[in-house]
Amino acid sequence: MSPGLPGPLAALLPIVESGSGSASDTEAAVDDGAAPSDPSAVSDASGASDSDIPGAHGTPAARADDALIDVRDVVASYGDTPVLEGVSLSVAPGEFVGLVGPNGAGKTTLLKTINGVVAPDAGSVRVAGEDVHALSSRAASRRVATVPQDTTLAFEFPVADVVEMGRTPYHGRLTSDPAAAAVVERALERTETAQFRDRTVGSLSGGERQRVVLARALAQETPALLLDEPTGSLDVNHQIRTLELVRDLVETEGTAALAAIHDLDLAARFCDRIAVLADGDCLAIGPPAEVVTRDRLRTAFDADAAVLSNPVTGTRSVTPFPSTVDLNCRVHVAGSGPAAARALATLSAAGATVTAGVLPAGDVAATVAADLGVETVTAPPFSPVDAAAEAAARDALADAAVVVLAGAAPPSVRALVRDHACLVRTGAPADAARSDGAEDSVDTIATSPVDTVAETVREVAADRADRE
């Protein structure tokens, strides 16, 4: 079993890519109209393929009539259980839309109405301008390919044979698709499964198998690609590689991709737009920065989360917390460093109106505060707090029901907060030790580990309300 191209195929490939291959591709394209046959043909002559796909103008902000996948008011149910209650969504050519939502939100069902497996009770599903449910499954499978969540793979088939099954819509009853060998080879290489070519599917790991199924979908060469949890059983490396591959398809070949993704960070990182599905309804759809917000996640997932910006990728990063406390008060966070950052995120996720300061500009807590949209008083690092900042901080302190002193705080900041009636100290003992021995000069009414700061703040706030 040697990796790389098998002899006969290697001999074939140059011919396929230059001359005879494109001839047969043209035939296939004429034959079907919608499906770009060979990815290389599409990228070489994108003008030609654009005319095949309605609205292939490559604008990510799609209007519904430009959409390659156009779902309108779809209602679907399993027996008597309603699953989708009027979902509308569209994906343009060259756009990658992520479908997020809690378990049971109807993500898989929505994908199945698009690929034709589940017939909607009402509403319409159009792919490349055609009503999917009016098409034969052969015609539909030339327009939309699916990477299912779990596949009853016929375990004894070699990988190459399973990928070749992606060419089913192009085979005749008694004749074979002439482009099959080259397309399968390409799909194997793109998904890095070529080295398994001759192993049976049953001998692969779950993640390897998932890539084989992706290769099978690539072999279908459809303008639309649906993925149901494509990264579910993949290691971190292959999660990224798989989504990069989808991104690449979307950008180079104008594929319209729609993927149900559980990992919100990955969805925000790779998708052009994100659709939030909950209780059979599409709550929101838009760019990740607009859609992935604390309030929306709370509505959709019933979980508190701190939505930050990942400093490495620059995309949204979601840190969920179990939803235990609901704070309806103003909380001011003083102090700096990681402990203050954690306190800010936790309190913000719990629903408190958080203010912060005085923070040295560029401190990790200042960055987190900015991400969270927290009103923050900052001062230049390594310099004393000036009068304006001090006044702003005093205003914030006056409005706050509770003040949390987290992490390291210079004497000037401690001096600011020391007179507040409800002062909570959090952070590791190390932080206290670092605060140059002046800890006793601050009169706290409670101390709390940062993990439970939200609970402590709630108790302190409740006590204060009782007292007043």
Partner: protein
């Protein structure tokens, strides 16, 4: 001697598995051809050896010459209407008459030629056709149901045939092909009924089909038992039919069964690729462009007709349709484009070989029904393969 031949044939089959290499793998069509050619050679050998065995021992050259002399090409085919009388009614029943031109005329011992052509060959060829039909249908049903215990009769075809046949015997209905025709009709009606029971809104879930088949088989088993109680002196004949045998084989039956089996097989072969994709599950198959329900209907209908044609002329011969596809899957893998033709030919060879044992075996009270032999030989061989090849799934 027979054992030696069988062992050689088996060893041949098991050692010829081509190794899979990235740069040397044969295309499925080529693999199917290579395997089919090899197994056809095995089949011819089994047929010739089988024809030498019997109360009168014949030599291989005599048999070969006589067999070649029997090879004919139909030159004209006509259809005439006969009649089948049942319950006082006469039903029209078409009979195919054909004229043959024979290709060879080797000088051969007259007695030997008569034995081979009139007595042994009809039975051997019928056995081959029945084995071919049962193994094809069994292969398709195992793939269709994604269930290793599926056999050609899984949706009740054999039980229906049994009711038809036993009713004919017990109620003394007569007519040309009366027994075969009523068995065939019983089989087809049963398959159709099971399909209807399991279908709702145009969807036929495989699991429902399986369970409906089991229930209908149980019911028809009760009907058959009741008919047997009232069979009186025909009881022995009815039981003998139900055990499956090729005792009364004649060229007429071969002429009717061959076209049905071959035509059905060709249709199934055209659906081999669809059957592969169906193994991925119905939803996946749909997203890969298979018209799932239509394909299921075609596969069910054609394999039921093929099975019914076999069961109608040979009775209920168990195990061929179950074991042969499994044996061949162990050897050639799961791709139906290769597996289906290979299983069909292997099924033919297997049934000819086992029927030879049935013919040759002497035991008090007459000859052995081949159904007993297929089960008695097939099951241990299957278990041997199961234990040595470590295959635990379809």
């Amino acid at each position: 001697m027979l054992r030696k031949y069988l062992a050689t044939a088996t060893a041949l089959v098991l050692t010829m598995r081509p190794t899979r290499r990235a740069d040397g793998r044969l295309r499925p069509a080529a693999r199917a051809l290579v395997w089919s050619a090899a197994l056809t050679a095995v089949l011819v050998a089994v047929v010739l050896v089988s024809a030498t065995i019997g109360p009168v021992s014949l030599t291989l050259p005599t048999v070969a010459k006589a067999a070649l002399n029997a090879v004919g090409v139909p030159t004209s085919v006509g259809v005439s209407l006969g009649g089948l009388s049942a319950f006082g009614l006469t039903l029209p029943m078409p009979t195919v008459k054909a004229e043959y031109t024979y290709l060879f005329d080797f000088p051969v011992d007259r007695t030997g030629e008569v034995i081979v052509r009139r007595i042994r060959l009809p039975r051997i060829v019928l056995g081959a056709v029945v084995g071919f039909a049962l193994a094809s249908a069994g292969t398709v049903m195992q793939g269709f149901f994604r269930n290793p215990m599926a056999d050609p009769s899984i949706i009740g075809v054999s039980s229906g045939a049994a009711v038809g046949a036993v009713a004919t015997i017990a109620l003394s209905i007569s007519g040309p092909f009366g027994l075969q025709l009523s068995a065939f009709l019983g089989a087809i009606l049963t398959a159709f009924a099971v399909y209807l029971i399991a279908t709702e809104n145009g969807h036929t879930p495989v699991a429902t089909l399986l369970l409906a088949g089991v229930a209908v088989q149980t019911f028809l088993g009760a009907v058959t038992s009741y008919l047997l109680l009232h069979a009186g002196e025909d009881l022995e004949q009815a039981i003998y039919w139900m055990m499956g045998n090729l005792e009364n084989a004649a060229w007429d039956e071969v002429a009717v069964t061959v076209p049905v089996a071959v035509a059905g097989f060709l249709v199934l072969l055209a659906y081999a690729r669809d059957l592969n994709v169906l193994l991925l599950g119905e939803e996946d198959a749909h997203t890969l462009g298979i018209e799932v329900e239509r394909t299921k209907r075609v596969l069910l209908a054609v394999s039921s007709v093929v099975t019914a044609a076999a069961v109608a002329v040979a009775g209920v011969i168990g195990f061929v349709g179950l074991v042969v596809p499994h044996m061949m899957r162990l050897v050639v893998g799961p791709d139906h484009r290769v597996l289906l033709p290979v299983s069909a030919i292997a099924g033919a060879a297997f049934l000819v070989a086992t029927d030879t044992v049935a013919r040759a075996g002497t035991f008090p009270g007459g000859t052995l029904p081949v159904g007993i032999v297929t089960a008695a030989l097939g099951a241990p061989f299957f278990l041997y393969l199961l234990r040595t090849r470590e295959v635990h799934s379809l």
